[in-house]
Every structure is written in C-alpha cells, then in structure tokens.
C-alpha cells in the first residue's frame, strides 16, 4: 500500500499524541500491540452548548479557528474515495481553488444510430446474465 506524506503526517501526529501513555489493555485478538493504553483521565463531558465559547482555553480557540468543516472530504461508506480535484471551487466559494485543469480522455465514439433511447425494462433472466466483460466461462 502506498504511504504518502499525508499518512506519514497522520502517523506522526497520532504517535506524538500517544507519547507518554502507559501500558496496554488486552483486546480481542490479543497479540496486537496497542499504542494506546487505558483511556486517559480527561473531562469527557460534552454538555456545553454548541453556542458556548471555550474562552478558558486560548490554544484550543487558536487551533479551532483554523479548522473549517467545509474542507473535510467525508468519504461515503458506499462510494469510491473522493477525488480531491473535485473540490475545485466555484467562483463564489470561499474554498481556495485549484486552477489546474482536469486532463480527461474521451472514451469510445458514440454510435449515432444506436437506438438505446427506448426505456429499458430488465427482467430477471433465467439464463446466464449478459456480461459486459469476461467470457461466460469465468462464472462456471
């Protein structure tokens, strides 16, 4: 698998955060060496309203001001990985545009006479399904 600057940066950040935690708790599957030990003691309460300012922690505010949820590329469970180039902004977006044009290649020529305009109703076939690619014997 490809390790990139992004994955190495993530590793560095997570490892730095883990530094100083003690011990490991055995988990199912056992032999796995865990970087993270028992849950640290922290204030896990989240009862503050989302409208409240976190005025007591200036550093959190400083970091949080740099985070923009609009920049998150939420990857759908059901879908392919997002194409980072697709985040090229429209003119009125505050997102910094990537002006590099997407180089694309066009596929096979269309057959102008193809009468595929009719609505297509597929019914479950009792025969071998029509396959786009691969000889039928692939599925024997």
């Amino acid at each position: 698998m490809k390790k990139t600057k992004k994955t190495m940066l993530t590793a560095a950040v997570l490892a730095a955060a883990a530094a100083g935690l003690a011990g490991c708790t055995n988990l199912p599957g056992g032999e796995q060496e865990n970087v993270y030990g028992p849950p640290p003691e922290y204030d896990s309460s989240v009862t503050e309203s989302i409208d409240e300012k976190n005025s007591s922690d200036k550093s959190a505010d400083d970091v949080s001001s740099k985070y923009d949820p609009a920049d998150d590329n939420v990857q759908d469970v059901y879908g392919p990985p997002p194409d980072d180039d697709s985040s090229i902004a429209d003119e009125d977006s505050s997102y910094a545009p990537d002006t590099e044009p997407i180089q694309v290649e066009y596929g096979p020529e269309y057959d102008e006479d193809d009468s595929s305009d009719a609505d297509i109703d597929f019914k479950a076939s009792e025969e071998i399904q029509q396959l786009v690619y691969g000889p039928p014997e692939m599925f024997e």
Partner: protein, 357 residues
C-alpha cells in the same frame, strides 16, 4: 489521543456547519445506481442486489440528467459516484460515463472487480474514471462464501491487479466489510494488501441493513467494534493508509483518529442519489421508503428537487429520538447516521455510547 478540547471545538464547528448546510445544502456527491443487477449475492448487501428485476433508466435519460445538473449546478466541487449492483453489468456503462467525462464531471465507482480485465481497465481510464473502490471481504474462502461467488476472490484480486497494471488512476482502494466471522482475518488481509500498490484500505463494520438483517450472527459485537477501531488507529499510527468509513459518531477519543474527518452524515446535505429507476433519494444506504423518495428524474428536474425538497433530511431529527434526547453527545452525534436510524421510532440502531465512549 489528540487533544480533546481541540476536538470538542472542532465538533462544535462541525455542528454549526451542519446547521448551515440545512439552509444552504451543497451537492458534493451524486450517486448513480446504474443497476440493481449483480453477479454476486453478498450476504450483507444493503440493496439486496443480484439476479433481480431492475428497472433501469436509459442512456438518453442519463445524458439529460447530466446536462441539467451541469447547467444548473456546474460540475466543479462535486463527484459522480457510480454504483449498483455491479455497475459494469450495464452494457451502456462506457457510453454513460464517457458522456459524463466529456461534460467535465469527476467520477469514481464501486465494483466487485470480477469483470475488470485489462481491456476494461483501459476503457475505465479512457472514460475518465479517477477513483475506484473494490470489495474484498475476507481471505479467499471467507470472501467467496460471504459473497456467494465461487472463485470471486481470485477474480476480484485479478481485477485490482488489472487496474494497477493499467495505472493512471487517482486512487485505487480496497474496501473490506468486517463481520464477526472475518474479524480475525484483518492481519492476514493487511499482509496481502501491503504487498499491492493500492492507495488505501477502507475497513468498515457490517451495517444492520438489507440482506445483513437476515444474518445477525455476522454483526459485530461490542468487543468486535472496539477491536476494529483500535486496529485501524494502530495501523494509522504506523503510517498505513487504512481508514474507517464515514458512518457513525465515534466519540471524543476516536473521532478524527481513524479517518481524516469528523463525523457528518451528509445525506440530503451534500449527498444525493439516483436509483436505478430514476428516483431521487438522499443516500442509497437509507431504507427505501416512499417518504424518502424526493422525486424522479423522469418527471422532475434534479436541481429543483435538490433545492426545494429533502426537508426530511434537513432538520434536527435527533431531538425526536427518545434515546438521544438527554444524551450529552447529541449535538455531535445527531442520532448517528441516517441509514442506521430506526425510522419507526427515530432512534439510532447503531450507537457506540458505552462501547467506544
């Protein structure tokens, strides 16, 4: 663990961002379910695909849809996500996607990989495919049994290798759905994928939907869930391109540590889908109920529906959940993912409280 106070601040920002999206939704993912037909019979299939009747809209109807979306909303900052069933079973696949490519849409797809020979890989690149996720759901015996396809593992791996040999794609990913049965195979799978030149490995838990509901024995236990999340985080600490999926709020300890973003269910906010018969819905994983169908491209213009409908997804539904009402995490979790809600009660069917946090 990353600084919890910073995470809270970010999650508050995400909550506010979500609120802004309800007022001004921004389409970023448009799923096209080209067909419900599939040459596999996965036990976990959320759409119960297979050798089934599949009403399918025509090529000209897809072209009209794409023309309208481009005219009304542009092609930038959005991605077409091609799926099914097995989308390559659609004989007009390259005609549809070549047209999308020519219009300037970025697109990617999910596939079981079994139909991707070298020629197919070449045509996918030619048609402008940028990203793909191929499913491998266990070692060979497990994968074939889970997907009810003898020889499926070998064919899928061959498909992945054909893509890698062709080269030139932005991102080739393998997705593994983890079950109670295959969770012990993660290390062995990692060893296989580590030797391949794929870009990432997405590891997700089996969701309680579709055909999976007939196999409760495969659903992950609480112990499995914790193990899975820890496994992913440990791999990421090692610099490996492994990630969890988009679903589910994971709590302050694990948010943004097993994936590169904070939890946000984008159904109806940034994500819409066109089913095989042209229905306009939010996310293909959401139970196909009539009240969730917002329109149909055979009679509606997509942008009209996107901007004027989808109210059911653009509200604070988590306040209606009895389970979530008094939970201190509800502003961050928001009753979790829309597809795993029990739409009869409004309560989440998947909640990691007392499991991960």
């Amino acid at each position: 663990m990353l600084d919890v106070e910073i995470k809270k601040a970010h999650l508050r920002k995400m909550a506010e961002y979500r609120r802004q999206l309800t007022e001004k939704p921004e389409l970023r993912n448009l799923f096209l379910e080209l067909t419900m037909r599939c040459n596999e019979r996965c036990l976990h299939c959320g759409s119960s695909c297979g050798d089934v009747t599949s009403e399918e809209i025509s090529v000209s109807q897809y072209k009209k849809l794409l023309d309208e979306v481009k005219a009304d909303m542009g092609t930038q900052r959005k991605m077409l996500c091609i799926t099914g069933g097995e989308p390559l079973l659609r004989k007009e696949f390259f005609e549809i996607m070549g047209y999308a490519n020519e219009l300037g849409f970025s697109w990617g797809m999910t596939s079981n990989g079994t139909l991707i020979d070298r020629e197919c890989a070449r045509r996918l690149k030619q048609a402008g495919m940028r990203t793909i996720s191929v499913s491998i759901d266990g070692l060979e015996e497990t994968h074939d049994a889970f997907r009810q396809t003898p020889g499926g593992f070998k064919k899928a791996m061959a498909g992945i290798n054909n893509l890698l040999e062709e080269g030139g794609f932005k991102h080739v990913q393998v997705t593994t759905v983890v079950t109670h049965q295959n969770i012990g195979e993660l290390d062995a799978l990692f060893e296989i994928f580590d030797k391949m030149d794929i870009d990432s490995w997405r590891v997700i838990g089996m969701e309680p939907m579709g055909r999976a509901l007939r196999h409760p024995e495969l659903l992950l236990t609480d112990e499995d869930q914790k193990y899975l999340i820890e496994y992913i985080r440990n791999k990421r600490v090692e610099g490996e391109p492994v990630c969890y999926g988009c679903s589910h709020y994971l709590g302050l300890e694990y948010e943004h540590e097993v994936r590169d973003w904070y939890f946000l269910c984008t159904a109806g906010l940034q994500t819409a889908s066109i089913t095989a018969n042209g229905d306009i819905i939010a996310c293909l994983d959401i139970e196909r109920r009539p009240e969730f169908v917002q329109g149909n491209i055979l009679k509606d213009r997509f942008s009209d529906v996107w901007f004027n409908k989808f109210e059911v997804f653009r509200r604070e539904h988590w306040n209606e959940s009895g389970k979530c009402k008094d939970c201190e995490h509800k502003d961050f979790c928001r009753a979790d993912s829309y597809h795993s809600l029990d739409h009869n009660t409004g309560d989440p069917m998947v909640c990691f409280k007392n499991v991960l946090f």
